[in-house]
């Protein structure tokens, strides 16, 4: 069977998962242990049927930078690669409770692009929590985006919610961008975030969603957030903080104390490493057979009694 992130189940020994492939004549059985109880999953057909998480565990998926409406040479079929990404998510070994989209849903903020994205994403069969990227807020301060994907309450599009014992903070750092600047949160959003986190116990796992990286990946390429330091200062007292970003179409991780920042792959097209001399920050064309090895999705697993999640990135093709 083709190796995907399922072949290295999240967490390894930290999760206490046992992995034992017993391939019989009729197919295969994958054993997992969650919460001390072994469970067998039938391997059938092409898709591995996802099992629900063990009691007390919580798993969700991340998808990013789908750029629906993009038709450039780097990928003439962004719709197709999104569908392939959703298939990957359906094949994750543990069924995610929901999905987050870390922005650049569309390429040009056009209504038909948002509509197509909405239709395609329905195929995931999951609740999806969205934040916009700068490609989603090109017109009208992001009104077409927020109408379709915005939180039901709140002013500037930011919001928070709790699920699986985890507190999620969804930020918007792609509006009101200032000349010569990077991403921007703004004082109103920062005040909201500070207040939102104030009463939370330091042992609550926190997941922060923001499209542009919340650390300075490459100032030359405009890759960072001007006022992220203030936001991070509200997070430092928590034992487990995971910041999930998009924007750069590749995985880069930075760990700063208890805060792990991790950017994500796109489902649409790859980009050069930020700051690469002589390179453009835009879509990068690679040989066709390599494209899908550079696109992917992510699963994030919180295991009972372990505050830090396990993060698994899966490419569309190996």
């Amino acid at each position: 069977m083709r190796k995907t992130s399922g072949a290295e189940l999240p967490g390894g020994s930290r999760r206490g998962l046992l992995k034992c492939m017993l391939l019989g004549a009729a197919g295969g059985v994958l054993w997992t242990v969650g919460g001390g109880v072994p469970r067998a999953i039938e391997l059938g057909g092409e898709a591995l049927a996802a099992t629900p998480p063990a009691p007390g565990d919580f798993s969700f998926a991340q998808i990013s930078d789908t750029h629906i409406g993009f038709h450039g040479a780097a990928n003439p079929d962004a719709n197709g690669t999104l569908q392939q990404a959703l298939t990957r998510i359906a094949q994750l070994p543990v069924r995610p409770a929901m999905m987050v989209h870390t922005g650049d849903v569309s390429h040009l903020s056009k209504p038909e692009e948002f509509d197509t994205a909405q239709q395609l994403l329905k195929g995931a069969g999951l609740d999806i929590h969205f934040i916009p990227g700068e490609h989603d807020t090109l017109v009208d301060d992001g009104k077409p985006f927020f109408e379709r994907f915005g939180a039901k309450s709140g002013t500037g599009g930011w919001y928070s919610f709790d699920q699986g014992g985890v507190h999620f903070v969804a930020l918007v750092n792609v509006l009101n961008l200032r000349p010569g600047g990077l991403g921007y949160l703004g004082p109103e959003q920062l005040a909201w975030m500070r207040s939102d986190l104030k009463e939370r116990s330091a042992s609550t796992p926190i997941v922060v969603l923001a499209h542009m990286p919340l650390w300075s990946v490459s100032p030359d390429w405009g890759c960072g957030t001007d006022d992220a330091a203030e936001a991070v200062s509200y997070l430092n007292r928590f034992g487990s903080v995971t910041v999930l970003n998009g924007h750069i179409h590749q995985v880069i991780q930075k760990v700063e104390g208890g805060v792990t920042f991790r950017t994500a792959m796109s489902t649409a097209f790859p980009q050069a490493a930020p700051g690469t001399p002589g390179a453009s920050p835009g879509p990068l064309k690679v040989p066709t057979e390599r494209l899908r090895t550079l696109l992917g999705v992510r699963q994030i697993d919180f295991v009972v009694d372990k505050p830090a999640p396990v993060i698994n990135d899966t490419r569309l093709e190996s």
Binding site: G72, A73, A74, H107, L108, S109, E134, H135, L138, V139, L177, R178, P179, G180, G181, L182, W215, V217, P219, D220, W221, G222, Q250, V251, I252, Q253, K254, V255, P270, Q271, A272, A273, G275, T276, P277, G278, A279, S280, P281, G282, P283, L284, K285, V286, P287, R290, L294, D313, R315
Partner: protein, 139 residues
Amino acid sequence: MSKFPCAIGGASLALWTAAALLLWPLADAGRPAAAMDHAMMGHDASAPTAKTAAAAANEVVIDDFRFGPAALTVAVGTKVTWVNDDSDPHTVTSEADPKLLKSPPLDTGESFAFTFDKPGTYRYFCSIHPHMQGVVIVQ
């Protein structure tokens, strides 16, 4: 002021193939790109190298996430045209209010024009990629 990685031209091809492209699958910030696993070789040459945009008179070419020329001086009454030759959408947006320059998002190949009736210094930026900045000086 934004500093963009310099255009180095043809001699940079070796540098490009060695250092460019992607970090896979996981990288710590600060590790140089060359140390990454699975560095991609860009010898299909479709990765853009810097171009010297040959802008026509009174024209600004947008390419490689830059306005070229970044500073343009014109006479009062001149119509200036911005053309997006880049692979990403960009806008032309005045930095200060009133936002005289406020283009829609320009996809590849699209253009935007504005006629400057009054002398002055008109700073603008791309509202999508705000580190891209330019100025039109009208005399």
